[in-house]
Each structure stands twice: as C-alpha cells, then as structure tokens.
Symmetry: C2
Subunit: 203 residues, 2 copies
C-alpha cells in the first residue's frame, strides 16, 4: 500500500498517513471481533453534551438480503464499486438532543467524529473504510423506519482494500492516484479568516 | 491518566481508550512542531468530494492579544476553564462547495472528521483536546471576518492535561469522573432502525 502513503509536509501517525478510501475491495470477510472493535471505537468519540447522536445500520455479505437492502440506499455510481465490499453501513444522526428535544447543531459534526474513530480503529487492523455522501436518504428512511429528527447522512464501505496497483482492477486508476490536499497555509489562520500567516513558526 | 481509561467492552487502540476532554490544563506550552503535526493530521482527513471544507483560526498564549480575542468567542462558562489552555482554535466550515457553489451537506460532518484527526495526532503526542460547541458564532464572524457561507461551529482547547486527580484543581470532580457511553447495542442496528440485534455474533 506504500504507493498510497500521503506526502505529508509534517510528520503524522502512520495510521493517518496510510489511510485512504479505496474503490476496489477484496472479497475477504471482516471478522466479528474486528467489527465489534471498530464500532467500539466509534462509541468512544467525543460529542456535544455527550449526546452520542450517531447510530449505524450495518449489513454484511453473510446476509445477502440485508446486504442488498443496504446497497440499494446508495446512489447507483456508488453501488457499482461498494457492492464488492464485505460490509456496508449507513451513518445516521439525530438532529435533536434526547434530553430536551432542542436542536443539536453538532449532530452531523459528531457523526463525522464517530466515523473517523471507526476508521482509525479499522486502519489499525489492516482494514479500509470508504465513506460516501452519495446515498438516497428517503429510501433509507423508508426501508429502515428511521424516525423523524434522525437522518441517514453517509454510507461506509468496510473491508480489505484490493492492491491499488492490480492491473485487473477496474478502479486501478482511481485507487493508484496520489492523495491530494490543500496546504496547511490554506486552512489554518490567525487574526483574520483567510490570512495565511502561519500561527506557529517553522523550524 | 490511567483513571481516565475508557471501560471498553471490546479492545480498541490505546489512543482511543485514553483520549478524554480535560477541563484542567497545565500551563506547559505546545511546541511548534506538535502544532504543525496536529494540523497536518487534520489536513489528511477524508471529505465529501475531497472538498476539505474545514478551516481553523488558531491563537497561542504567546500572543496574549490574539489569545484573548479568540477566548472572547467562547461562551462565558467555557472561557472560565479554556483560558488555562495554552492553545485555542475555532473550527470553521464552509457550507457550499468551492467548485460549484452548491450546498455541501457534509460540511459539518467533515469538520468533525478533521477535528478527530487532529485530536488523534494530539493524543499520540501526549496532548489533550477539549472541543466545545459553546461559542458565539456571530462574534467570531465579526472579529475574524468569516465570510458568508462559512461558519464557526466549534472551539478547541489544546494542551497538556493537568492531573485529573490533583486535589488543587477546581475541575477535579469533572476531570476525574469516569467516561460514560451508551452500549453498542443502543446505536448499531440491523434490519430496522432501533433494532438492537447484534449485526455480528459475539465470541
């Protein structure tokens, strides 16, 4: 996987440098122990007022009917590649606090944090996670009876990445492409928004 | 810090089990190298269409004026404890895609992912991060000239946690309290939302 190593400007943990979102997954199944630990990792994410607004609907290929049902909540271009992953999940979040029914402005933010936790634990176990915003939320609501004030926002394909350099992969070009990011100076500011003066001296 | 170890039901990485959001920070400053690496970690978070909608406004105590300015964007109960942290940041996100000006439904979600990345790298370096939703976004917009379609959503206090058991800490009770979470069965579902049948067998 070394071809997918991020070209970082500053040192980061290997788990962060090697994580990427593969299109091609191998058909190797994910163990129950690994699945339990990746959702345990999501469980311990921080959240606004410890609301833990996230939930996940999960389907593995061992149950073909459930897998197909979950796959059908993805937009078609995502179904094409995600159907090869052994595990699919929907990321759901509740937009109101359970304790007082007030709007929770952090509900999507905190789902993002929980899914990042899940992805870290997965990466540490040799797994890959490819998250998608391209889903059909109304279909998910209907199929899974997602209640009012909760929403399916993302899908997650989880499994073992196929070799990104595999010439037989239909996703070879996408999977082998280098990872690109803005520079730190483009998103870390001091004093004024958009002002790229580094807030911490180099060296 | 062992008293803050999460009581996990399934094994997770030590970084996940030991991370918590302290109220009491020591006055030890954070090195420039550590700051560069934690924002580098945020940089490599995944995002919808690789938009990277997040940005951060950062102030360290070395610049008292900038630190006070950023502190003033927090609600007062958060100012009380966050003023002790050596580094503060605002988490900002852009709600429209740069490439086509369409709404980005993942903008808050992806800020949550980036801040989780930042927090992982910080934790690996012995630092702690305490995120807050309790800020005054309009004040941040005015002070930092945050443009339309971008919003300050969170603040982050970054530094070295004080010993949570320190009897002299005014936050001892909060910092020494055990971390609590819902069980996995309360947020991982199969087949129907709210149905707690474990999607992966135990054992």
């Amino acid at each position: 996987m070394s071809i997918k190593f991020a070209k970082t400007d500053h040192p980061v943990q290997e788990m962060i440098a090697t994580r990427y979102s593969p299109y091609a997954f191998s058909d190797r199944p994910v163990s129950g122990a690994d699945l339990r630990s990746i959702f345990e990792a999501a469980r311990w994410a921080p959240s606004s007022y410890n609301e833990q607004p996230w939930s996940y609907i999960v389907a593995t290929k061992e149950d073909a009917g459930e897998f197909e049902r979950l796959l059908s909540c993805l937009v078609e271009p995502n179904q094409d590649w995600a159907k090869l992953a052994p595990v699919l999940a929907l990321g759901v979040t509740r937009s109101r606090f359970a304790r007082n029914d007030q709007e929770n402005g952090a509900s999507r933010h905190d789902l993002g944090a929980a899914s990042a936790h899940l992805t870290f634990e997965a990466t540490a176990r040799g797994l890959s996670v490819h998250q998608m915003i391209g889903i059909v939320p109304e279909r998910a609501r209907e199929l899974y009876q997602i209640p009012e004030h909760s929403e399916a926002l993302t899908a997650l394909a989880i499994g073992y990445a196929a070799d990104p350099a595999d010439a037989a992969s239909p996703y070879r070009e996408r999977d082998a492409a280098p990872r690109e990011r803005k520079s730190i100076a483009a998103f870390v500011f001091t004093g004024t928004y958009g002002q790229s003066k580094p807030p911490f001296a180099e060296g």
